[in-house]
Symmetry: C2
Subunit: 336 residues, 2 copies
Amino acid sequence: MLRVILFGLGPIGAAIGRLTQDKPNMKIVGAIDVDPAKVGQDVGRVIGLDRDLGVAVSSDAAEVLAVPADVVLHCTGSYLEQVKDQLIQCLRAGKNVVSTCEELSYPRRKHPALSADLDQVARDNGVTLHGTGVNPGFVMDKLPLTLTSVCQQVDRVDVTRIVDAGKRRLPLQKKVGAGMSEVEFRQQVDAGVIKHHGLPESAAMIADYLGLPIVKIEETIEPVMATAVVTTEYLTVQPGQVAGVKQICEAMGDGKVLVRLELQMYVGAPDAADTVRVHGKPDLTLTIPGGTHGDLATAAAAVNAVPLVAEAREGLRTAADLPVRFAPGKLAEVLA
Amino acid sequence: MLRVILFGLGPIGAAIGRLTQDKPNMKIVGAIDVDPAKVGQDVGRVIGLDRDLGVAVSSDAAEVLAVPADVVLHCTGSYLEQVKDQLIQCLRAGKNVVSTCEELSYPRRKHPALSADLDQVARDNGVTLHGTGVNPGFVMDKLPLTLTSVCQQVDRVDVTRIVDAGKRRLPLQKKVGAGMSEVEFRQQVDAGVIKHHGLPESAAMIADYLGLPIVKIEETIEPVMATAVVTTEYLTVQPGQVAGVKQICEAMGDGKVLVRLELQMYVGAPDAADTVRVHGKPDLTLTIPGGTHGDLATAAAAVNAVPLVAEAREGLRTAADLPVRFAPGKLAEVLA
């Protein structure tokens, strides 16, 4: 039985919590959140189950982390500097950590010193620290890296992910700027509000593990303008308004692009898909028509990582360091 | 520097040898083959390079395996019973092994006792034993397993691989029966000549790692008949003759199919592709248009596994146990 602690009970943390309850070999033994509306409540109710689990949500992380447990599922923020103290607290309590913090997926380029510190704390405490999700964590890093295993030579990697934001939650539709004017959109970009986290981390992970000699990583965020009326379950976008966002990250070598990641998230996208192109020997293209569902997939990636992280070597481990697959709860008898 | 020994210098072994020479961190330090035409020759010439490597091919495995080396690249046969003594000899010499033996990719169901023995010998000698390739090893096992990492539930996995044998080597075109009569084809199937190895291994790997409760694995081999004239670089197939083979492997649960693998290899296939379908939550489809090139990819998979196996935990390790990716020779500085 894998004992898990939930650290952060927002929408993704709650989805992760519910999914652990589908696994016969996982049990929630603690839950941490600072929201006064959640503290003191039974975690089962807080994550949306129709039953109590006999574990009360606490805002006292130290107290919860004193409970014996195998893995902390951490979902509190995107910026590593903002969550590092939480992560260190988990590691010092001797707990393995799976986190959805986007910057943790591959922090070595943006935060080299902090990465080394986190790695050392994990090793000192004999545990593993791992950041994952669907993007970063899968579509734009793990999946293309896996594809390169059948290549004799790799010169460049391109990934395009097109998401129809109209089929997602309202917060996501708002987050991509649907319905805004272009001026408002650009203000929100400048304010750092409209921004998907993780593309530079994925680009760096690909480049470093493939040995592609990159010298800089650049990122741009542009609006996708609606050319016709788009109506979703929650809102209507008029022609000339913003339909969503197109974010491009390029990892450059000496004068040429070595990794190019393009994320389009807008309402009414007709051709949602994840597409990977490896330029090399041979050239390879891989497509997931419709694309990998963001919310479902991020919760799945985190929960499926639990048994792998519990078994992994100590230290900071990326998606490229670990095998990944669905965690069935228990393995078939032949493997027992 | 990773020192490798080549064990078996047929077409695939030679391709693997050539590819190691593209890696700045791999060096051939020994070569084993029983073919009198190769013994005593410089391995560089035998594998098709235009230069000597200063290593003579030897038929004396014990002598070659006494040389200090990190990994043996083993390519001598498809049947585990036939190559087990070679593998054990490598392991006892303290060498990690990457083998293209199809039955080694996931031997636990077909050869449970022998698997346990090989695992124990590897552990006793502190080394890793790994079977890989493109199929088995990637398209029908590692790739679908990787895709399931973003699934919340997995009910069934289907993989279809369609190969245009007309674009491959003559031996492969003959191996799939191109140009035979249907009677001759079925005789060759009954004689065990027309058969791609590895589908039951891939099906078992998927089922066991996903926890799908299979009770039996069945395999059928049928001809694909030509309906029009097909001309390849090497031969012509008339309508009514065999164009190639369609091999289907099904892993069954209690009355239903849980894993279905279909391999079509025939001349003139218009729609070559690898396609994975995961039925679950969510359903996911993944396509590699054109398909993964068999010869290039098998050599790549084996050579790319060398650094991973050199670092892996001791014992028998499958593609599902290891992360996979292109081996660049040396990692970028940030990872050093």
